[in-house]
């Protein structure tokens, strides 16, 4: 099978991978680049666990081929840390508000919320709920995830890590 060189900037670091054209971006990140924080829950774009930011926009990495995003900047959950290596504001908020249980869906929420808050820094509770409306969580019942979105906005607004 023909293989292709893919160049990506992942979490600020230039990376290359040699992959078949059919290699999903999720598999490329997880298995070729070793970034296993991106999870795969359904393989058809419904659950959102695999959400990563491609050139800043949240996308389902299980619905993208790695070759189709050649040259892109990709941010995964590993890249949502604070500059000092501690938890980023969204990650911290999820811990503060018990916004996760098993943690499998959490990376997709963290990336989604990170992108959302960049454009909507001060959401209402209703908007916060809407913001995570495309991601499935089987554990939490979402109440604490919505609280986490609001808390993350608060932390980001305070300029705290």
């Amino acid at each position: 099978m023909t293989e292709h060189d893919v160049r990506l900037t992942v979490n600020g670091v230039p990376r290359t991978a040699r992959v078949p054209a059919r290699r999903l971006l999720s598999d490329c990140l997880r298995h070729d680049l070793g970034l296993t924080g991106t999870h795969v829950g359904c393989e058809h774009g419904v659950c959102g666990a695999c959400t990563v930011l491609v050139d800043g926009l949240p996308m389902r990495s299980c619905l993208l081929f790695a070759v189709s995003v050649d040259g892109a900047e990709v941010t995964t959950v590993e890249g949502c840390r604070a500059p000092d290596g501690g938890l980023g504001p969204v990650q911290q908020a999820f811990q503060d508000c018990h916004g996760l249980q098993c943690g499998f869906c959490t990376p997709g929420f963290v990336t989604t919320v990170t992108a959302y808050l960049r454009d909507h820094p001060d959401p209402t509770p209703e908007q916060a709920r809407e913001a995570v409306g495309g991601n499935l969580c089987r554990c939490t019942g979402y109440q604490n995830i919505v609280a986490s979105v609001l808390r993350a906005a608060e932390i980001t607004g305070d300029g705290q890590p």
């Binding site: 070793g34 829950g41 590993e78 938890l87 996760l100 943690g103 991601n135």
Partner: protein, 792 residues
Amino acid sequence: MTTRMFGEPIVRREDPRLVSGAGRYLDDLGSEALAAAFVRSPHAAARVLDVDVADALDVDGLVAIYTYEDLDGRVAEPLPLLIPHPALHAPRTGYPLARDVVRHVGEAVVMVVATDRYVAEDACERIRVSYETRPPVVGLEAAARAERRVHEDLPDNVAAHLVQEVGDARAAIAAAPHRLRLDLDIERSASMPLEGRGVYARWDEADRSLRVYSSTQTSTSVRFALAAKLDIPVDRVEVVTPDVGGGFGVKIMHPWPEEVLVPWAAMRLGRPVKWAEDRREHFISSAHERAQRHAVEVGFDGDGVLRGLDVTFDHDNGAYTPYGIIVPVITSTQLLGPYKPGTYRVELRSLYTNTVQVTPYRGAGRPQGCFVMERTMDAIAAHLGLDRAVVRERNFIQPEEMPYDHQLTFQDGRPLIYDSGDYPATLEKLRKLVGWDGFAAFRDEARAQGRRVGIGLACYVEGTGVGPYEGAHVRVETNGSVVVATGLTTQGQGHETVFAQVAAAELGVPVEAVTVVTGDTRRFKYAVGTFASRAAVMSGNAVALAARKVRAKALRIAAEALEIDPGDLEVVEGVVSVKGTPDVSIPLRTVAVLANPLRYAFDEETQRATQFAVGGGADRPPVADDDEPGLEATDYYSPLRSTFAAGMHAAVVETDPETAEIKILRYCVVHDCGRLINPRIVEGQIHGGVAQGVGGALYERMVYDDDGQLLNASFMDFLMPYASEVPVVETDHLETPSPLNPLGIKGAGEAGVIPGAAVFASAIEDAEGIPIHRMPISPSELWELRRREEQG
């Protein structure tokens, strides 16, 4: 003070790892492993005539193809019957790979091993299996009609038949002033964790040892099962549960065909092999639950007080019964909830169908039982024109009647005796929380505006903390850190936090000093598993008992070192000191050093424990006859019986007069799980349970067609609730401690889901004035019910 203890809502200690992508779930491991994929039956009932692998052999990267014929030893035998039951007269389990016959869509027929999953699936696509199909048995009606058989040697499709009776219920009902009959159905759903199943195995030929990682709810039991199946000594098998992306019951089932085949293939090939289930596989080859049809006869007096209850029901167990009949047995006992039935008769049949097998899903038969009992309560209230809450109250077991013996046998083979609970107080709290008494006015007001609103109520009692036992090992290291190991597994319940809280509280150390390991047979070999809301009760108490032993030993050693009576000592913040004289003290880490008499020091601190440094008389050995080296201990908690948690939920719904859309306006929970170790985590468990209750009541169902095809085997079509479907949950707690265990706790894991179908049926019925006898209910079904009601 950094020490936070039992009862504090501290944030979870596992979270920094999980929120930053540093968790390690099954498919994050074994990047060097070969990948397995399976050819699965596309037919619900068929004979396998031939497997032609010729085309697949050309696939570059193919390593091996296995069919049933390749299996050897005990791997070729049927999978184990995990829980035999006297009433399960015709148990049937499948083979790891189908032997001649397939009995549901999704049953594994061929295993392929290749260099990666893409290649393995390429090979699967090129394998041609010839089948001789036959018409399947789908649904309880077809199973009961028994015109066709699921298992050739079972003409009636009946796996089990069980009757339990307390008093003469039929006579009591016949003699009662009022009688009602109800038919109540619940459809299939499933646990559906976001991470599917997965197994990764490494065989070390030189060491003759096997390490298996599995996304399971029971690593210890997988270990025993694999040692037996693969015929290797138990001591050569390690099973490790990594981070697990949710279980909700389905992962307590074991050993799965794949869980046997992956290690088996790794041994044969001498190379690591991994299989991570995909979503479609999870839908068609793991397990489902819930489908039951119930017929209720109830007799009661003019006050709504029960005289007799007679419930007959059929349970759809799918194609096989590896997990026994736990689910219907739980329904049959737990449907009584907080009530005294007067007399009770329950008769269940468990039936085979050509569908995915049934094993417990969070709630495990209780949601069905709660639905049956609570629908009956509402029907009695409607029949007599009484308030629904009042009818319930009149039938409650009273606090002074505890412990209350139902004179039935529970799922663990032990008597069904409630240990404690205050049901009237629970109901009172719920009435206040939801505003029950003022609701009629709100409903009338809404109705005057053309709106339809309704309120529902449902009560349950849940047997939690089922035995036989759990254990824990607690060790204080010479650097002062504390390591806790318990054998049961974790799938998001926060065990790294709550067991640390228990140990910290018992030992008197900061919770930050405690590390918890779960589900790793290298660290703790004896355990049962995480299911039945048992982890906090069972391992929580085991951790407490082990920590108490460690504390007692620490006090004894410190007392010798300080030359003082142990009774005068306390442990605070990791330091043993004299009560009232904190200056006279010795750190626990030093006690840990002294606890292990050394010939060889390994650092400056441990020089204290070497033979020329320690004091003590020359007339006794350094380690006494009844002692062991190290500041550590193991203990087990094994309860006499389950402990019974309880709760009551209320929901307020609005139904659209035109579209029949069902909207949840409010959801209130009052919950009593005894003493809370961590209220934040308990609350989270309730929220998550309620969300699954909402799913089960309004959205989720497994839709099989007459050919036994699962039509909605994807997240596109199986509608799990998103944030937009789940209401804000308002909660209140009661804490009625359990007298059965040292910590006074009861389980909380399943509670939130139990009353879901019952409470929404009650609320929708209240809004619509149409009896609701079948759940889940969709807008189109409600619309259809309205149409039929209008036509009389």
